[in-house]
């Protein structure tokens, strides 16, 4: 569904350039949930943005649904991929109601039957009809993230890009959102890429996981390998050990 070959992203600043993503290649099959983990600055979010065409990138191959993705995306291309961002407080327009937020993508893409679609999207993500005319500040963090997911899914895209969708949420709310994502990807056979710094979250939802470090792909492993620690790279092992919590050196 998604093929990435030799993807690089370079940011230029006043003083020079910074290679945020360096020669990364992977494939995501249709219906798969692919995970990308790494620490801050490892380039994991930048990969998502490059796939969505939100940052300029260079690559040998970048295919979405069998077709090369151009640097400049058409409306139809953009409809294929929808994004859910990390911070539900920053990614919803504060002066738009839930209804406005969900209607906007439909209007941009000229989709008919907006009213029913909005209603269905609200029900799909487990919000109540009474939430439809509320503003983001009247919703909790978890409810906002549900709105962001509804907005991403309202165009029925085949591909969903999730950038740290639960990092800003409490564990109890995180559990609800992860369960929601899990349910939606099954019922709509979504192909998705989930980026997170939390190994347990990624292992929970994904079958295959890419480990990133300083812009480079360290390795691609299965969730089982992540759980059992059957990995080859030293960095991955270090990351897994650190995620399991603090270990007191035996005195």
């Amino acid at each position: 569904m998604i093929t990435v070959g030799g993807l690089s992203v370079t940011f230029r600043s006043g003083r020079g350039q910074f290679r945020a993503v360096d020669d990364v290649s992977f494939e995501v099959a249709a219906g798969e949930t692919f995970g990308i983990v790494g620490e801050s600055g490892s380039g994991k979010s930048t990969i998502l943005k490059a796939i969505a065409g939100l940052v300029p990138s260079t690559s040998a191959v970048l295919e979405v649904d069998g077709r090369p993705a151009a640097q400049r995306r058409s409306k139809a291309d953009r409809r294929m991929l929808q994004f859910v961002f990390q911070d539900p407080y920053a990614s919803l327009h504060p002066r738009q109601t839930v209804d406005d937020i969900l209607r906007e993508p439909l209007e941009i893409h000229g989709v008919a039957g907006a009213d029913e679609k909005v209603q269905k999207a609200i029900a799909d993500v487990g919000l109540l009809p009474t939430h439809r005319f509320r503003y983001p500040h009247q919703l909790s963090g978890g409810q906002r993230q549900r709105v962001a997911i509804a907005r991403a899914l309202i165009l029925s895209p085949p591909i969903l890009l999730l950038d740290e969708p639960t990092s800003a949420l409490d564990v109890s709310v995180q559990a609800e959102i992860l369960n929601l994502i899990d349910r939606l990807r099954r019922s709509y056979s979504l192909t998705s890429i989930l980026v997170s710094h939390d190994l347990a979250v990624v292992a929970h939802l994904c079958d295959r996981i890419a480990i990133m470090r300083q812009g480079r792909l360290v390795e691609i492993i299965t969730a089982d390998a992540l759980r059992t620690g059957a990995v080859t790279a030293g960095y991955t092992r270090e990351l897994i050990a650190a995620s399991r919590g603090f270990t007191r050196a035996v005195a």
Binding site: S172, A175, E176, A223, R244, G245, T247
Partner: protein, 278 residues
């Protein structure tokens, strides 16, 4: 356990607002010895407010009341602003969550850390510098001479947090309250910072209150854990027993956390019982 450092009985924090009074902390009681005490809870559960109350940092018109709140025999409830100034920084101190917002952006690292030292220990300039450099080394900053002259914006997240810890520890307090000290850090850096705190607790016999929302970190790092919900301490257990806690809220939090060791097809969600607030 030896003589407790801190005794808190029936602590209440009330924050008056436009829509009435919020009881941010309700009837909280605990003691702290020279140990690592974790406080976990979700946002809004009152854990940070409780930490601030222990340092007399609840801003007006917030009200702090308690049956007992004493620190090594000093009645904290009767402290004047002057008394607090003598205690805070010197005897008890607090590491805040985000070094980006808690350090003074226009002062070099060395001068900020030195300020605490001069103020509380009345050291001269040379002695202050010596102690600052030694402290920076103690929190494992590789090149203390260089970092001394840097401004906060020139530090990475992990370095900023170490500088905060250095600043809070230079006056050698007996009690440190650390509010989410590692939440903004990457996991590998997080463990380095925890190791520094751990060594300091052990070597200096400090008491540590470790506030966090991260169950994995708390259960692996602390000795004992308090679980807060809706401003109350609803459960208390040994950190290593957190996985087998008896209170339904604690159990629900554990079950809602994705784990590398216990994969679940679906995460449990937290059903809340109004009984817990009674």
């Amino acid at each position: 356990m030896s003589e407790p450092l801190l005794i808190v009985d029936g602590l209440e924090v009330a924050l008056p607002g436009r829509t009435g009074v919020t009881r941010a902390v309700r009837n909280a009681s605990f003691t702290l010895g020279r140990e690592r005490l974790g406080i976990v809870g979700e946002s809004g559960s009152g854990k940070t407010t409780m930490g601030r109350a222990l340092l007399g940092l609840v801003p007006r018109p917030g009200m702090v009341t308690a049956k007992t709140m004493s620190y090594e025999g000093t009645n904290l409830l009767a402290c004047s602003e002057r008394d607090w100034q003598r205690l805070r920084g010197r005897r008890l101190s607090m590491v805040m969550q985000d070094p980006k917002y808690s350090l003074n952006p226009v002062k070099t690292v060395g001068r900020q850390i030195g300020e605490t030292c001069r103020l509380h220990l009345h050291t001269d300039r040379r002695e202050t510098d010596r102690r600052v450099l030694a402290m920076l080394e103690a929190v494992q900053i590789r090149d203390p001479d260089l970092v001394y002259h840097l401004y906060p914006h020139q530090l990475s997240g992990g370095m900023g947090q170490r500088v905060m810890i250095a600043m809070m520890l230079i006056a050698e307090p007996d009690l440190l309250i650390a509010d989410e000290p590692t939440s903004a850090l990457d996991v590998t850096v997080q463990n380095e910072v925890l190791r520094i705190l751990d060594d300091l607790v052990r070597d200096r016999g400090m008491g540590l209150i470790f506030i966090s929302h991260n169950l994995t970190v708390v259960s692996s790092f602390c000795d004992r854990v308090l679980i807060m919900y809706g401003g109350r301490i609803v459960d208390e257990c040994l950190a290593r027993d957190l996985q087998h806690a008896s209170h339904p809220y604690t159990r629900a939090l554990v079950a809602a956390t994705p784990s590398l060791d216990n994969p679940r097809a679906e995460l449990a969600t937290v059903a809340r019982d109004p009984e817990w607030l009674k």
